[in-house]
């Protein structure tokens, strides 16, 4: 059996800030880490020297498309033009926070967000989907809320393709396994099959949480002298395949052990973490909090410091490790799941630790908030990171990518359904109807949804097969929320502006038909490569469609996620802007289900 502890950690070979200042000419693997030449030059300019390898690791991941939104930022800003108000109250937190929060009345607020975990789910469907659920749930927890439900819009290649047989069961088992074990009812989602997703399935996950207004927590590190505490699972080598290039550079003698690029989820650890966080909030011992997701500690430390007063020190060697051979760069990048970072006042630390102890959750003070302006990270006494945190977390590159309406669109739009032969006999009509009903995109989805717990927590009022999920938030009054996610990507392929609006309108209608008042929107924008001008045009059109649609409805976009590079080879998926709409019901007992259960009723068609 191989022993995964190679040697005791040491500072030997570690690239310190001092060393970096003295050796400007060291060649660094910025390109292998995905940075462009100008981006690397800009980092050197910000720091006034070459980055240490730890700094290079942080910038490279935080400036990646996934974390920095560098191609989408200029477009997403248009969401900010929408009024930060909902039809019934204030938006309490919006774009820029871990998740948006809206007032739903009676002192209650809800937070919800939708995110993608597409690429990890293709590599390892079960764990990829599971950790997608885990990640979005931690975002919701970080706002101070109790997560109360999840949803899972999914898209796969053709149903009868062998790879779908590999991907789908794993994804469904991963979402079910993780969500069921967390005790979150799954109240809806989508399952779509289309060849365009063959090499690139879409696994989006939504979580909604509820909180009292006064429990709202934000991700910022303020208060000089406050402690920075890491709690939850130990840090392992998860998801750091890419940065091992750095570790092997700085420490080539023994070399790191194999680093997995797959993260494995532990839903039990996350369930305990949820209950532990809620106890911490109740006790009032958390000044600021952030979940650890993509980019791990790099992201959590720089974002907390950047949103706060700016200064923070971290002793990286105090991070509890699952694999003692991890190098500092790897610890900074590790995407180990089920971890959170809190900012705690020194006089409340004892109570904080007593609560984590009660839940058997490991908690470690890594450092503190300072009156400086830099994020300083040390490793066994040597400074390995000394950066303005804003430059890492918020002031990443912004691109105005070229856009162009794809040439194929004219032909595609001209090829209308009018050219198809129409059924001329009842038998033909029957045949066509049966064909539509038998399509895997239309037919009953209980073969998937029966693998998800829809009853846990006892507050589910509507779930599958209803058009929108409805959950009760407050037992004493029946106050609750309705949620729906929708997108027909074939419409978006034909016309991304109208397609995005149709998705928004469908989700909005689904929520409205339950009797809820739609109040807010979160979106997950799944597109091809932003380096393709046609894709960028689709993206911009979709954003415009959403902005104009939301303005017409009078609802804000409170958050969301962008997933680019969804393509197989050079072929992009259809643009897939998944829109989720949240509605409010004053009493969920009065909700209207989509079906009817008694005969003798009249049927009406409303609208055009």
């Amino acid at each position: 059996m191989t022993d995964n502890i190679i040697q005791a950690p040491s500072t030997e070979g570690v690239d310190t800030v001092g060393r970096a200042a003295e050796s400007p000419d060291v060649v660094q693997p910025w390109a292998q880490l995905g940075l462009k030449e100008e981006e690397y030059a800009r980092i050197r300019e910000i720091l006034g020297r070459r980055p240490t390898s730890a700094e290079l690791a942080m910038y490279s991941v935080m400036w990646s498309e996934h974390c920095s939104y560098k191609s989408s930022k200029v477009h997403l800003r248009r969401f900010g033009d929408l009024p930060a108000e909902t039809p019934i109250g204030k938006q309490l937190a919006g774009i820029g926070e871990n998740a948006g929060v809206v007032d739903i009345g009676q002192g209650w607020a809800v937070t919800f967000k939708i995110e993608s975990h597409n690429h990890p789910s293709y590599i390892e469907p079960h764990q990829g989907a599971a950790t997608g659920v885990g990640g979005i749930v931690r975002d919701i927890m970080a706002m101070g809320a109790r997560p109360i439900a999840v949803m899972d819009p999914l898209r796969f290649g053709a149903l009868d393709h062998p790879d779908t047989l590999r991907v789908l069961p794993g994804v469904v088992a991963g979402i079910g396994g993780y969500g069921n074990c967390l005790g979150l009812p799954n109240i809806g989602g989508e399952v779509v099959f289309d060849e365009c997703y063959q090499g690139n399935p879409l696994v989006n996950a939504l979580c909604v949480g509820a909180l009292r207004h006064e429990d709202l927590h934000l991700a910022k590190a303020t208060g000089v002298g406050n402690k920075v505490v890491l709690f939850g699972a130990k840090t392992g080598g998860d998801g750091i395949g890419g940065v091992s290039v750095l570790a092997s550079e700085t420490f080539d003698s023994a070399g790191p052990t194999k680093r997995p690029s797959v993260q494995v989820g532990d839903p039990f650890a996350e369930k305990v973490l949820i209950e532990c966080c809620l106890d911490l909030y109740r006790a009032g011992v958390v000044e600021g909090i952030q979940d650890l997701g993509g980019a791990g500690l790099s992201c959590a430390t720089s974002e907390l410091a950047s949103a706060g007063d700016g200064g923070m020190t971290i002793e990286l060697d105090t991070v509890p490790l699952r694999d003692a051979s991890l190098r500092p760069e790897e610890i900074l990048m590790s995407e180990s799941q089920e971890r959170m970072m809190a900012v705690v006042a020194p006089d409340q630390l004892e109570e904080f630790l007593a609560i984590t102890d009660r839940w058997d959750v490991e908690a470690t003070v890594l450092g503190e908030v300072t009156d400086g302006t830099h994020l300083l990270i040390s490793w066994h006494g040597e400074t390995i990171v000394d950066v303005p945190p804003r430059s890492v977390a918020h002031d990443g590159p912004v691109y105005e990518r070229p856009m162009q309406r794809p040439a194929y669109l004219d032909a595609l739009q001209a090829d209308s359904a009018l050219g198809l032969t129409r059924p001329s006999t009842p038998a033909e009509l029957r045949e066509q109807l049966l064909q539509v009903l038998a399509s895997p995109n239309i037919c009953d989805k209980s073969w998937i949804t029966d693998q998800y717990d829809r009853y846990v927590r006892g507050n589910t009022s509507l779930a599958m097969p209803d058009d929108a999920g409805v959950v009760r938030v407050d037992e004493s009054t029946g106050l609750g929320v309705a949620l729906s996610t929708d997108c027909n990507a074939r419409f978006a392929q034909l016309d991304p502006y109208a397609g995005a609006q149709l998705a928004l309108a469908e989700a909005y209608r689904n929520v409205a038909t339950t009797g809820a008042l739609p109040v807010a929107v979160s979106d997950c924008l799944n597109f091809g490569s932003p380096e393709d001008a046609g894709v960028m045009w689709q993206f911009s059109q979709a954003v415009d469609g959403i902005v104009d649609g939301c303005r017409a409805f009078g609802v804000p976009v409170t958050g969301g996620n962008v997933s680019f590079y969804n393509q197989t080879g050079a072929t992009a998926i259809h643009p897939t802007p998944v829109l989720s709409v949240l509605g409010v019901l004053e009493d969920v007992a009065r909700r209207t289900p989509s079906g009817w259960s008694t005969g003798g009723l009249y049927l009406f068609q409303l609208g055009a």
Partner: protein, 85 residues
Amino acid sequence: MGHVVIDVMLKPEILDPQGQAVAGALPRLGFGDFTDVRQGKRFVLAVDGPVTDTVLAQAREAADTLLSNPVIEDVVSVHALESDA
């Protein structure tokens, strides 16, 4: 009738929540000596007749393709069950 045993374990660098749960429980039950636990799978495949080299080769291939997920697991051993001998 012969049997082939195939042992599959999670790769050492992959988190093993199952093993951790056991590792956490052992000291509470008074088993304080164990410092770590990993939990894997053991498959026992039956064949009519003896376990020949061809059978073992087939088992090895099945282990690599069906019985383990090479992204997160290692096949740590494929061997004939001794108690058959």
